[in-house]
C-alpha cells in the first residue's frame, strides 16, 4: 500500500527502508532516498480526523511559526496527506543532521529549552475544519481518577495471581502509591487548575505527549522536534513533568540540581507562572513511574509478575523515596514570581 501512496507524490523513490513499526497499533515509519532528497513516509495509526489535527499543527508550526519541525511534503495536487486503507499517510522532509543530545544535565537542559520553545510556538493553533479537536485540557481530574481506579485493578490482579513471585511485593506497596494518587487528586482539586484550564486551548497551545530523548534532537541550527503525531491541547507542563520523571528514573534517584535546572531551562523559553508551577509540583507528586511501569500487569500477569518485576518494584520504591525531599526543597522556588 505504501507504493500506491507514493504515486501521489512528485518525486521518485530510489530506496525505502522501514525505520519503526508499531505492530500493536498499526503505525509505521519509512525512510526514503528520493530524487528530491531524503524523506520520511509515515502511516498514522490514529483515526483520520484525529490525525488531521496533528498534521494541521505540524503545518502551522512550520509555515506560520517557522519552528524547527520537519516540513510536510505536499502531494502532486497540493495536499498534506493521502488517505489509504482508512488511515492517513504523509511524507515529511528527513532532517539528516540530527543527533541525540548528550545524556547529561547539559543535554537535559537542551531538551527542556526546546520543549518550552515548542510549546510557545504552538500557541494560537486552530485546527482545520474537518479535524477533530484533540484536547486534554479539562481531562486532568479524570486522568488522576483513572490512576486511582487502576490501583484497585492492580490489587485485584495481584490477589487473583497470588502464587506469582512478585504478587506479595506488589500488594505490599500498592497502598502507599494509591495514597499518593489520592493525595495528588485532592491537591489538584484545591489548586487553580480549573481556572487555568478555562483560559482555553489556543491560549495554552499543544503538548507533544511523547517527548523525550529521541524526539528532541540537535540539528545544525538548533534543537528540532520530531514525531508530532500525538499532539493535543493541554497545560504544557505535562510534557515537562514526563521528561523530569523519566529522567530521574534513568538516574535511579531524584536530584534537586537536575530538576531545578530543567525547570529553569524550560522557563527561559516558555515562562511558567507561579500558579502553573504549583500544578507542575502536583503532577510531579503523583505515582507516575509506578503507574507507568506496573500498568503492564493487566496484560499478561502470569508472565509479568516474575522475579524481575519484584526487582523493578524495589527500584521504583527506592527512587520514589528520594523524590519527596527534592519536591519539598523546590516547592517554594516560584513564590513571589510575577503572575503571567
Amino acid at each position: 500500500m505504501a507504493l500506491e501512496v507514493l504515486e501521489h507524490y512528485g518525486f521518485s523513490v530510489q530506496d525505502i527502508q522501514v525505520v519503526t513499526t508499531k505492530p500493536d497499533k498499526g503505525g509505521s515509519i519509512w525512510k526514503m532516498e528520493t530524487s528530491s532528497g531524503p524523506k520520511s513516509l509515515k502511516l498514522l495509526h490514529r483515526r483520520p480526523t484525529r490525525s488531521m489535527f496533528s498534521l494541521g499543527a505540524q503545518e502551522y508550526l512550520v509555515n506560520v511559526k517557522e519552528a524547527r519541525v520537519p516540513p510536510i511534503v505536499k502531494t502532486k495536487d497540493g495536499r498534506d496527506y493521502v488517505e489509504a486503507g482508512g488511515k492517513l499517510w504523509f511524507v515529511a522532509e528527513w532532517i539528516e543532521s540530527l543527533t541525540p543530545v548528550s545524556k547529561d544535565l547539559e543535554g537535559a537542559k537542551h531538551l527542556c529549552n526546546a520543549l518550552g520553545e515548542f510549546h510557545l510556538l504552538s500557541k494560537g493553533y486552530v485546527p482545520p475544519q474537518q479535524a477533530e479537536v484533540a484536547s486534554r485540557l479539562y481531562k486532568w481530574p479524570a486522568t488522576y481518577e483513572k490512576v486511582i481506579n487502576k490501583m484497585d485493578w492492580f490489587r485485584n490482579i495481584a490477589n487473583a495471581y497470588e502464587e506469582m513471585p512478585a504478587s506479595p511485593h506488589l500488594l505490599n506497596v500498592l497502598d502507599q502509591f494509591e495514597e499518593q494518587a489520592k493525595r495528588s487528586l485532592e491537591k489538584l482539586n484545591e489548586s487553580s487548575y480549573l481556572e487555568l484550564a478555562q483560559r482555553g486551548n489556543e491560549y495554552w497551545g499543544l503538548v507533544h505527549q511523547d517527548y523525550g530523548w529521541s524526539n528532541g534532537q540537535m540539528g545544525s541550527n538548533g534543537m528540532w522536534i520530531i514525531d508530532l503525531d500525538g499532539v493535543a491541547y493541554d497545560l504544557p507542563i505535562r510534557d515537562l513533568r514526563k521528561l523530569i520523571t523519566g529522567t530521574m528514573a534513568d538516574l535511579y534517584r531524584w536530584d534537586t540540581t537536575w530538576v531545578r535546572e530543567m525547570i529553569k531551562s524550560y522557563h527561559e523559553a516558555n515562562p511558567i507562572s507561579s500558579q502553573l508551577y504549583d500544578i507542575l509540583m502536583i503532577d510531579l507528586s503523583g505515582p507516575n513511574e509506578f503507574y507507568k511501569n506496573i500498568k503492564e500487569v493487566l496484560y499478561e500477569p502470569e508472565l509479568f509478575l516474575n522475579d524481575q518485576t519484584t526487582t523493578m518494584i524495589q527500584t521504583i520504591v527506592d527512587t520514589d523515596q528520594t523524590k519527596w525531599p527534592v519536591l519539598e526543597e523546590i516547592k517554594d522556588d516560584w513564590k513571589g514570581i510575577e503572575q503571567t
Binding site: 498499526g26 475544519q129 474537518q130 502470569e302
Partner: protein, 367 residues
C-alpha cells in the same frame, strides 16, 4: 405527514456498525411508515448508497462524523427540501440551525443520553432550542429528570417513551423457534447442564463487568453449575486492547468456572445468546440512560439483575422480573442478589415467564 428524521453524525442507519440510537430508529420505522411519508437523513458509509428507498422509507446519506461538517450538510439538505415534521435524534445543537433552514416545520427531539448537559451544549443555546421544539421524548425518566433539573421550562414538553425490542427475534430459549438454537449454542460452547449467566455490553470500566467476574469465585462456591457468557466485541481484538479489556481477561482467566467470551456478535444474531442464557446481569456503574439489553433480556424471558444507576431500575419490578443492586461498586452486592435468584429456581422460572410479557407492554407505550 411528510416527516424527516435527522440521525446523529456518528453512525449510519440502518445500524450496519451497531449503535443504540441507530437500532432504535430502524426499530420504529416499520411502525411509523404505515401512516407517514418518512425520510431518514444520516451519515454516509462505504457499505451503503448515498440515496435509496427501502420499504417505502427514503434514506439520504451525507458526510458526517464531525458535528460541524454534518450540520452544514443537514442545513443544505433542508434548504432544498420541505417537511411538515422534523424529528432530531439526540442532538439539541441541531435544533437552531434546523429551525433557521426550516422556519415553518414542526420540530421534535428525542433524547437518548446527556447531550443537554452544560459541557455538551451552551445553556443559552439549550434554552433557545427548548423553545423551538414542540416535544422532547426521552428514553427513560432518568434522562427526562436530568433535563428538567437543568431546564425547568422544558418540563411540560418532556415525556418518557420507553424503547422497545423486536419480540419476533428476542424469544425465550424455551420457545419452539429457539429451543434448537439454545441447545446447539450451549453444546458448542460446553454449557450443557450449566446455569448460564449472561453479560452483554461494551467492555469498558463504566459498564462494570469486572464486578461480576469478581463476584463469581464466591458464587461458584455456593452454586456448582455456573458458567459466564460475555458478549462484547473487544474481547479478542489484537489492536488497541484497552487496559480494561486486558484487566477483565486476566481476571476471567482465573475463574473456577467456564467463561465463554463471544467477541463480536452480529446484531442480527445476538438474540441467540439471550436464548441460550438463564440469568441476565447488567453491571453498569455509571448513570446509564437505560440500556437496551434490559428489553432484550426481558423478551428472552431472563430474570435480570441490574444496578441502581440512571434509568436502569425503571424497568425492573422487584421480584417480578428481577432485582436491583444498590451499590454496584461492591462485587459482594452482586453476590447477594444473584444468590437470591439462584437459590430459588422455581421462582426464577416464574419471574422469567412474567418478564417475557413486559417488553410488549413497554413497546406499546402502556407503561
Amino acid at each position: 405527514m411528510k416527516i424527516l428524521m435527522i440521525c446523529t453524525e456518528k453512525l449510519p442507519v440502518p445500524p450496519v456498525l451497531g449503535g443504540a440510537i441507530q437500532t432504535y430508529i430502524s426499530g420504529i420505522l416499520p411502525h411509523l411508515s404505515k401512516a407517514h411519508d418518512i425520510t431518514v437523513l444520516g451519515i454516509n458509509d462505504p457499505s451503503l448508497p448515498d440515496q435509496e428507498t427501502i420499504d417505502g422509507n427514503r434514506y439520504v446519506r451525507v458526510p458526517g462524523k464531525i458535528f460541524e461538517v454534518y450540520r452544514e450538510e443537514v442545513i443544505s439538505y433542508l434548504e432544498a427540501n420541505h417537511f411538515d415534521l422534523i424529528h432530531i435524534f439526540n442532538r439539541p445543537r441541531l435544533v437552531l440551525p434546523v429551525r433557521k433552514a426550516a422556519p415553518n416545520s414542526k420540530i421534535t427531539l428525542s433524547m437518548h443520553n446527556d447531550m443537554f448537559n452544560p459541557e455538551k451544549i451552551n445553556p443559552e443555546e439549550a434554552k433557545a432550542a427548548i423553545d423551538e421544539v414542540t416535544n422532547i421524548v426521552t428514553v427513560s425518566d432518568y434522562i427526562g429528570n436530568v433535563i428538567k433539573s437543568l431546564y425547568p421550562q422544558a418540563s411540560s414538553k418532556i415525556r418518557t417513551i420507553y424503547s422497545g425490542v423486536d419480540t419476533n427475534r428476542f424469544l425465550p430459549g424455551s420457545h419452539s423457534k429457539m429451543q434448537k438454537i439454545r441447545n446447539e449454542l450451549r453444546k458448542a460452547n460446553g454449557l450443557e447442564n450449566k446455569t448460564v449467566i449472561l453479560f452483554a455490553g461494551r467492555l469498558s470500566s463504566n459498564k462494570g463487568v469486572d464486578r461480576l467476574i469478581r463476584a463469581l469465585p464466591e458464587l461458584s462456591s455456593k452454586f456448582k453449575d455456573l458458567a459466564l457468557v460475555i458478549v462484547g466485541s473487544k474481547w479478542f481484538s489484537q489492536n488497541d486492547v484497552t487496559d480494561y479489556v486486558a484487566y477483565v481477561r486476566a481476571l476471567a482467566k482465573k475463574l473456577p468456572i467456564p467463561v465463554v467470551s463471544t467477541g463480536f456478535v452480529a446484531p442480527s444474531e445476538i438474540q441467540n445468546w439471550f436464548a441460550a442464557a438463564d440469568l441476565f446481569v447488567c453491571t453498569s456503574i455509571w448513570q446509564e440512560p437505560l440500556a437496551r439489553v434490559h428489553y432484550e433480556a426481558m423478551a428472552a424471558g431472563l430474570p435480570i439483575v441490574t444496578t441502581a444507576r440512571g434509568g436502569n431500575p425503571e424497568v425492573i419490578r422487584i421480584r417480578e422480573n428481577g432485582l436491583v443492586v444498590e451499590n454496584p461498586e461492591d462485587p459482594g452486592c452482586f453476590t447477594e442478589k444473584i444468590t437470591e435468584i439462584l437459590s430459588n429456581r422455581s421462582l426464577m422460572k416464574k419471574w422469567a415467564k412474567e418478564a417475557g410479557n413486559l417488553p410488549l407492554a413497554y413497546m406499546n407505550g402502556i407503561e
